[in-house]
Amino acid sequence: MSDATDGADATGSGSGRTRDANAVPTLSATGVEAGYDQHQVLHGISFESRDGVTCIFGPNGSGKSTFLKTLNGIVPVWDGTITYGDIDLTGEKPEDIVTHGIATLPQGGGIFASLSVEENLDVGAFTVDDADAIADRKAEVLEVFPALEDKLDQKARDLSGGQQMMVSLGRAMMTGADTFLLDEPSAGLAPRLVDDAFGLIERLVDRGAQVVLIEQNVRAALRLADYVYILAEGEVQFHGPPEDLSEEDELMELYLGL
């Protein structure tokens, strides 16, 4: 099991770690059904995260976010199981799932609007006890997003939409997790920042983290993808390496607009 402190070592050293030496557990779902109240959204999703970036694409309303929320514990699972390596996550609470090293960037960012930017980052490190690790990670976040440097004391709500997204991403990094669940990190970002956001994802991967990425910016996301799932109407319509997608013209057209 990799806990928060392991993550701290990895980022703290700055050298990154090799995947083979300390592989990130696989996050997998088997036959997951879930929904809201009586309304079922997911109809038996099976899923496995891969090293690097696992992308989830699909039309609006297909259940991507809902699925992500079953992974991080926000939406209770009706049926099926979710595991992280040897750990059974099914039915665990979100606050406990975080401690296994799984961080989430919710759709829309979900910053704490009346907290300062720095406090937002500190809350991200809530499960981390090591002050040095926190300081190191904060430095790293600012290196990735220099625009935040002179806004540390400002309330997060006073930032523009794009700046807020940087805060959210930075906050997710602060957890020191090995697995990142990112729900549309580039939405609403100016093109430059989209590059930055994807750059960040690459960095995370280089460092050995594993990323589950929901994106509507399919073109850019495919450049990073190691494996792709396509969801529609709460079911997996396709999964495979991106190379296989090109053979699925119909899928590409229908769900990806490509």
Partner: protein, 250 residues
């Protein structure tokens, strides 16, 4: 372009938040029937510009003209009924009402009968392909569906000008191209659009003219090609990516 008339015009429009000047003397003219794109870095004042034009913010200086009339300081609902519609960057459905009721709540001065209004709702929902959820409460809609509802509601105004704040953000490419088709279709029927969008693919496909904002100022204007070649724009906004970068690495 020269033979078309100006439908929306701002002159030195200024809006400040405390020490921050979010809109700094913005002068911008939109021709009747065009699709105007607005791009600019996050925080450059695009949304603020929308809010000031549509009456949500009191401007600190400058004027707004709409369809030959000065409308500076008008209340939003008055502008809306006059024919200036807008959407919000963060979708704002009436959560406790059904999709249909969301549409019916729209108020116009055109004296349409109740039946006509209901028919129009049906048409628009069908046009946007969300008629199957017409009687669902809006709170349960997905993000993309909410975007469509947002667009549908504003169409109920039968507006002359529609201002869209990031209509494609978070929207699936398939739906995105549908929205773009809708916009084109409406534009062909004579509706003028002002669109804020960060997706350069969308910008390139949609916009007749692009205005570029930076730090609250209107720094450039031209067609998409011109603007995207502009060094300052690339530096401030586009970075390495361009819309030409279309090929998919598969």
């Amino acid at each position: 372009m020269t033979d078309r008339d100006t439908i929306l015009k701002t002159t030195d429009l200024t809006k400040r938040f405390g020490a921050l000047t979010a809109n700094d003397e913005i002068s911008l003219a939109v021709e009747r029937g065009e699709i105007r794109g607005i791009i600019g870095p996050n925080g450059s004042g695009k949304t603020t510009f929308f809010n000031t034009v549509t009456g949500f913010y009191e401007p600190d200086g400058g004027t707004v003209h709409f369809d030959g009339e000065e409308v500076t300081g008008w209340e939003p609902h008055r502008l809306a009924r006059r024919g200036l519609g807008r959407t919000f960057q963060i979708v704002s459905p009436f959560k406790n009402m059904t999709v249909r009721q969301n549409m019916l709540a729209v108020q116009t001065d055109d004296g349409r009968s109740r039946e006509e209004k209901r028919d129009r709702v049906g048409e628009i929902l069908e046009f946007l392909e969300i008629d199957h959820i017409a009687d669902n409460e809006a709170r349960g809609m997905s993000g993309g569906q909410q975007k469509l509802l947002e667009l549908g509601r504003v169409l109920m105004l039968d507006p002359d000008v529609v201002m869209l704040d990031e209509p494609a953000a978070g929207v699936n490419p398939a739906l995105e191209s549908r929205i773009m088709d809708h916009i084109h279709e409406l534009n062909d029927d004579g509706t003028t659009f002002v669109v804020i969008e960060h997706d350069m693919h969308v910008m390139k496909t949609l916009a007749d003219t692009v205005s570029v904002f930076d730090s609250g100022r209107h720094i450039a204007q031209g067609d998409f090609e011109e603007v995207s070649q502009d060094e300052a724009v690339r530096e401030a906004y586009l970075g390495g990516t361009t819309a030409e970068d279309d090929e998919v690495p598969v």
